[in-house]
Symmetry: D2
Subunit: 364 residues, 4 copies
Amino acid sequence: MGNTFGHLFRITTFGESHGGGVGVVIDGCPPQLEISAEEIQVELDRRRPGQSKITTPRKESDTCEILSGVFEGKTMGTPITILVRNQDTRSQDYDEMAVKYRPSHADATYDAKYGIRNWQGGGRSSARETIGRVAAGAIAKKILKIVGGVEIIGYVKRIKDLEGVVDPNLVTMEQVESNIVRCPDAECAERMIEKIEQIRREGDSIGGVVECVARNIPKGLGEPVFDKLEADLAKGVMSLPASKGFEIGSGFAGTLLTGSEHNDEFYTDENGEIRTVTNRSGGIQGGISNGENIILRVAFKPTATIRKEQRTVTLTGEETLLAGKGRHDPCVLPRAVPMVEAMVALVLCDHLLRQQGQCGVLKA
Amino acid sequence: MGNTFGHLFRITTFGESHGGGVGVVIDGCPPQLEISAEEIQVELDRRRPGQSKITTPRKESDTCEILSGVFEGKTMGTPITILVRNQDTRSQDYDEMAVKYRPSHADATYDAKYGIRNWQGGGRSSARETIGRVAAGAIAKKILKIVGGVEIIGYVKRIKDLEGVVDPNLVTMEQVESNIVRCPDAECAERMIEKIEQIRREGDSIGGVVECVARNIPKGLGEPVFDKLEADLAKGVMSLPASKGFEIGSGFAGTLLTGSEHNDEFYTDENGEIRTVTNRSGGIQGGISNGENIILRVAFKPTATIRKEQRTVTLTGEETLLAGKGRHDPCVLPRAVPMVEAMVALVLCDHLLRQQGQCGVLKA
Amino acid sequence: MGNTFGHLFRITTFGESHGGGVGVVIDGCPPQLEISAEEIQVELDRRRPGQSKITTPRKESDTCEILSGVFEGKTMGTPITILVRNQDTRSQDYDEMAVKYRPSHADATYDAKYGIRNWQGGGRSSARETIGRVAAGAIAKKILKIVGGVEIIGYVKRIKDLEGVVDPNLVTMEQVESNIVRCPDAECAERMIEKIEQIRREGDSIGGVVECVARNIPKGLGEPVFDKLEADLAKGVMSLPASKGFEIGSGFAGTLLTGSEHNDEFYTDENGEIRTVTNRSGGIQGGISNGENIILRVAFKPTATIRKEQRTVTLTGEETLLAGKGRHDPCVLPRAVPMVEAMVALVLCDHLLRQQGQCGVLKA
Amino acid sequence: MGNTFGHLFRITTFGESHGGGVGVVIDGCPPQLEISAEEIQVELDRRRPGQSKITTPRKESDTCEILSGVFEGKTMGTPITILVRNQDTRSQDYDEMAVKYRPSHADATYDAKYGIRNWQGGGRSSARETIGRVAAGAIAKKILKIVGGVEIIGYVKRIKDLEGVVDPNLVTMEQVESNIVRCPDAECAERMIEKIEQIRREGDSIGGVVECVARNIPKGLGEPVFDKLEADLAKGVMSLPASKGFEIGSGFAGTLLTGSEHNDEFYTDENGEIRTVTNRSGGIQGGISNGENIILRVAFKPTATIRKEQRTVTLTGEETLLAGKGRHDPCVLPRAVPMVEAMVALVLCDHLLRQQGQCGVLKA
């Protein structure tokens, strides 16, 4: 259970790292939306392994096929199924992992919960599972763009202690994609790349923070009191592999201010629109979007699987040592960017449909 | 929409700050659980306004009545409804707020979304809404205690820049309740109290961080990939009023470590149980509890309503000034502690029932 | 679990026949709808015991109170809670039933499932539970009327073997309410009333069929393939106490026709609207409303509790005899009419909101 | 929306009659269940077109592939995806249907709702969609058999006015499968087959009634008040294509009896188990299974697509005539049997998991 997300724009992902394939069923997509496998592939390619020298060298083209829901290039309002077949599965890399638990990985908890696990890889806990999310996110992004001109841009804000300087209100997708680490601060990006290469050589791994902005947001999205917009966003990104923290707007740093410093004062702009001078709320007040940019951050821990030797136990509890094999990312952040964007898009699209209804939304 | 939380232990809260009352319907509580209004009242009293000199002086006894679901002191497996009538509603305090939006409050977004709002107070966005959560949390806590000996202890970890030293593995409820700010570090607590009193005198407000630990957790709770335990915990606490950030285990700080520093190495304890040497995972790996203590933190912003004058606009967009009236907490943290505990209890109880089924669970 | 119904217009009912009271929380009602306790009371009075000589003489005024969600006579988009306190609970009538299972009642299954039961009456399985449904249905009806001019009229079609002649396309609420058995065929109604009085004198009970029509239905309601409109209608009415069967359109009788006899041929009406000549589909094709009148029927069994002596067993399995006490309806049909209407209204309203979205719907 | 069914054992079906394929994702299947594509294929073959002279001659092998969720022949607790590729799609048969609405088919309502439709066939409204249900039902059946020895047997009870004599308490799967019409009354089956062949020659179609029994049911399944077992069963089978009515136990006929005739008296059997003498309740009382056999009936209308010429309109509303082409079943009943069994199995399995929890259920 737990493989379905969303209330009106609802996705169900499936698949493990090894086996037939991975994918997603999207239920609730409005009809008459033009969509092609090529458009979805663009996002999948941003998530794909082997895309640069700082990601895993695992080579998978991750080519997607649309199995249902689209006819003559348009959605029909029926479930859209997207499938990516698995390839290049060197399961011999995992022989040792079949009997030894990787520290801070999901091996031990999956065994405890299910009593069975595909030891040939991460199984369902592999980041490969996020292919379905990113594919669905591509469609959510397109709906948001058509209906409200919403744009969602994620980027690497920090790698370990290297923090980029980025203005979320102005950052562009071109800036993000201009380097392989996906940090729009070009100078900092270079240092990040060096750092990741160095850590990979050491057989170790590092983490960091992805920041994401959503712009041109309609007012009124979010359903208090439990389905507040920030609550659903938090759930969405905290369900991504390796995420350890979530912030909206001022986040933890905001707790160091007084109310008079923190509050976003109101004014009326030239169009008569009520706006806020500052945006420490991160675009959400009382769980409902206020039309300002939505800004959030997600902490990703260093990759669990490392080449350095660590203490662990076998399935039967005997203490042993393990040096991870397989081909893993020394830092998940560059590939986590499209995953965060996807989850943000899915949550916003779901709330948009809750507001506007399911059919005809694209005519509005 | 959005007022229901949970999949098998499911609560629906209702009510506004002004009007007939607030409360909760709990659906899915196992039968034959002994429960009394008095036990629930204990938790409500920890959340109650007017409980100390550092909370709002608003005087409400918040006395609860069990309307359904309990017969001769025991639950019947039918929906449990708990009602707290509203009292002491000085709506004249809100006359000015009827026409002026309070900065960083939910006034403007509720108007934008619903086109109507109870201007006599916070309405549904008032912290008063959390009464239903805390009442339901009291029952969830009891189930968790009976079934698995689970105990959930929240406390104030930080007020603005004053941070207490607390060991989550050892902290007791007695230590938490030994002072009015609910920080188990007694010395720090005193400074926190002084700080809050000072900020109140200044007509301003402050925020901070609540930390919460859940101990004696069964292995195997959590449903990947979307209903991972940390994802549901994040949603739960991020739906609380004034929350701006969430961390599990090492959180944002963990991103400053390398994988070899961050990973929790395994060992086998004296009972043959597989355990981790450290607990940077915060008790959850791959979205599933591993039996270690669950440790999380929630950032709460400074209270939005302050006495200090701020710039704002009227309902019709005219710029004006507003100095908040009404009786508000200068710092929500002490009263937020039982709210965080309640949300953690609700999530854990829901996942426990998903694991064990709905009926007969209390016999196990 | 299982006390919540609906996806976007979602109700949760609570309460037992004995105890504090019964009621409902409605989540998802659009804001700015004018609604009063008096309007809701009108529907509750149609369901109320003691309303006529052919219903139970149990005297309860069933006066409702709106606890939340309404401000100055209008809905706020927040959960609406409606409470009816219990009165006149002569639990001594139930002393014998505390130890003997009533045949074809829910006593034994509740005990088997929950291991506990309020023996002072039907508890949660009492028809009293439907108060919450009827109250919520009153609001759903109002929304449907405002948005699309939808009108929902239920009536008694058959009592045992006495079947009325009624044209669902023309029947009026006035005709239904013109007699106490709620059969618009006045002549047949008289014979039905006589029959019910006779059966009551005999200490026995009878059942029958309620038919319900919904007119002025917008095209396009229903969400294939599982939330087809007839599937949700079936679930709604089959969750009513004592219901044993459901038909949409031609129902079981339609299976005696050939396809060429059964199919509803299309034509274009004077407004250029595509219509069907006949309506054996009952207003739904492929799970989606086609704009024709929705017509359905529900079978209700004879009331289980009767005065006539029957064989049964005690809680401990000893065989014994039981002659029901308490004040029960000899025939539930007249009071089932508003219950069926309520469930139909709830389903249609939920699907209307799925189509149109949650907010602003009432402006359209 | 609406393509997901179930609460803990949750299926999402996808696919249209023409396009890449059809299938299902099953979320919530307990781990460690042995399952093979061959076992699933057995059920799919019972549903397959072209299986006999009285079904459509459309030739599709409907061979299934398990894409995820199974490792070394066992379920892993992760989503199970089953895919059947489409073949033999003679879309030229549908040229005329692209511009003319088939009476009593879903063409017109899909166009009204979605504004787009795969005119190459039934699209999503095709009975082909039920492949996913039947595949998932095969797994649900296996779980039910392992855990409680539950067996589910459907059969054709009536074709038009030809009604078989069958004892639901004794009928065997072998009897059902001993003839191509799936009526265990062998003599009646012959007449049914003749009737179907005759009606096919006439270019017409007929309907009938499927009866289904579930035996060895544990007591206590069902979640009042909305998720009563009969309510979920009704929703399940009324979501099947062409279904027009549902009955549980005595159904509509039961309304002709008095309470004293209808009630199921209790007795204690030789094992000390509380049982009922008769079973007019159909195995469910108060929405909860009582351990007796669950017996239900579903009415299926005559197939909408017929060769006989009928009046209809074009997409633009012009009146015209249509004689259906394509290869359609003259009577859906024989192939509807495994579909009804599947829906019953899915509902029972879902409620079993709600009772027993998700993991470890197969060890019990």
